[in-house]
Symmetry: C2
Subunit: 229 residues, 2 copies
DNA sequence: TTCAAAGTATGGTCTGACCATAGTATGGTC
DNA sequence: GACCATACTATGGTCAGACCATACTTTGAA
């Protein structure tokens, strides 16, 4: 195996420190200079380690003084996931179709494994705002909230974070699709149907409604190729 | 909004360069010193940017000379996902139960949306090796391959990468579970059932078999709490 | 008591130096 | 001409020190 780089060792030691001290969201790490001294490494190695942790959404750095300054433990898995999706889409090692399929999977799972009915309230509030939305951009913003509410139904934070990342990734695409369609009545009907079936506890029906909705929203990506007679 | 940091700007410019030049896996980026000069920033900023890209699995750095040296575009989303899961489990912002549930979701989806039957061959080969496995460690290694084969059935690289990351994350847990059980016959029967139903094209049945299997493998995490009479 | 100014701890960036790594070029030897 | 040991060099990895930007804390005057 390759010799571990210094900053990798620093990551491991910070991770260990988190585990040993039972640190959790909101707790602070020592400053970069102090960490460097404690771990007997250069400050740049500490910085690279923190950069990695920040990328993965477990740490957030803030300059200045006071309780919020320095490296604070956070929980932002969705930003890491969003970056991941965006970059891999950019290098063509992932396709939009795969991302949309994943989204369908999560939403269908969520409506069939409801463990946190609070998501229904999020969905309901988003629906009302969608009705009042003036432009495509605003419509999509509330649409994102609606579908995040769907994911929240599962009570699974990993799925919720993934849904946030997915929507962030396809945001521009969604806005363009709504603008191109020029109408939102079909989509709104889909949303209401999903909401009502989920609220009624009909997971199967809601799953079908989700599939229908995504077929309307992304016809190019979900419609199977027409048979060649 | 916050002023973007220099290294974030560097990431964006590298990303743009990738898009503009149509770079894909295998292509090389200029060296750190040269990038710093081209972008008119310090080398440390370039390094931090590359560290982020490396963390997200889109580049891989290698010292020395020759065609493989320097920053090369790669596609390792699973390592980023694995790091993500491990760290967020460590800070208790994610639970093992959520990870296992996600795994169940992916496998059930895969057997019901088969788009790449090649996965069946991976599963079959893994099964044969599992039969011959001598210890828990070796058994779990092939088990991982089997379930990766299941994910591969979907033909969705995002799901396959996520499955790799999930298994990597729960690896130690899986080994301990197999050792504690002291027997693998029940698990093997589950695996064969999954394989046969998937091979027969019975997605529904295979999905049920996957659920049964995970219930056997992780009884503590999947069994609903017993009713209190 | 209030508020403006100075102080200070923190992250952000740059420069330059040196080390480690691993191909590549050179040149001697057979 | 073929082979191999040596020197070279381009690349990432690390460190030290300096300085800037930010934002809270302290000080002290009004």
């Amino acid at each position: 195996m390759r010799k571990p780089r210094t900053f990798e060792d620093v990551i491991a030691r910070i991770e260990r420190r988190i585990a040993d001290d039972g640190l959790t969201v909101g707790d602070r790490l020592p400053g970069e200079r102090r960490l460097a001294e404690e771990l007997q490494v250069g400050r740049s190695s500490v910085r690279e380690a923190l950069r990695v942790l920040e990328t993965l959404g477990v740490v957030s750095s803030q300059a200045g003084r006071g309780p919020d300054a320095g490296a604070v433990l956070t929980s932002r898995p969705e930003s890491a996931l969003a970056d991941l999706l965006r970059l891999h889409l950019g290098t063509a090692s992932l396709s939009l179709g795969e991302v949309i399929a994943t989204r369908l999977m999560i939403e269908q799972w969520a409506v069939q494994h409801v463990d946190a009915p609070e998501g229904l309230e999020v969905m309901r509030a988003a629906l009302e705002q969608m009705e009042r939305a003036g432009d495509a951009r605003s419509f999509v913003d509330h649409d994102v909230t609606f579908h995040l509410g769907v994911a929240l139904l599962s009570g699974n934070r990993l799925l919720a974070a993934t849904m946030r990342a997915l929507r962030q990734t396809i945001h521009a695409y969604s806005v363009a699709a709504v603008e191109a369609a020029g109408r939102t009545d079909v989509l709104m009907a889909d949303h209401w149907r999903i909401y009502e079936l989920a609220a009624a506890g009909d997971g199967r029906g809601a799953a079908q409604a989700v599939a229908d909705h995504l077929a309307h929203a992304y016809p190019a990506l979900t419609t199977p190729p027409p048979p060649t007679p």
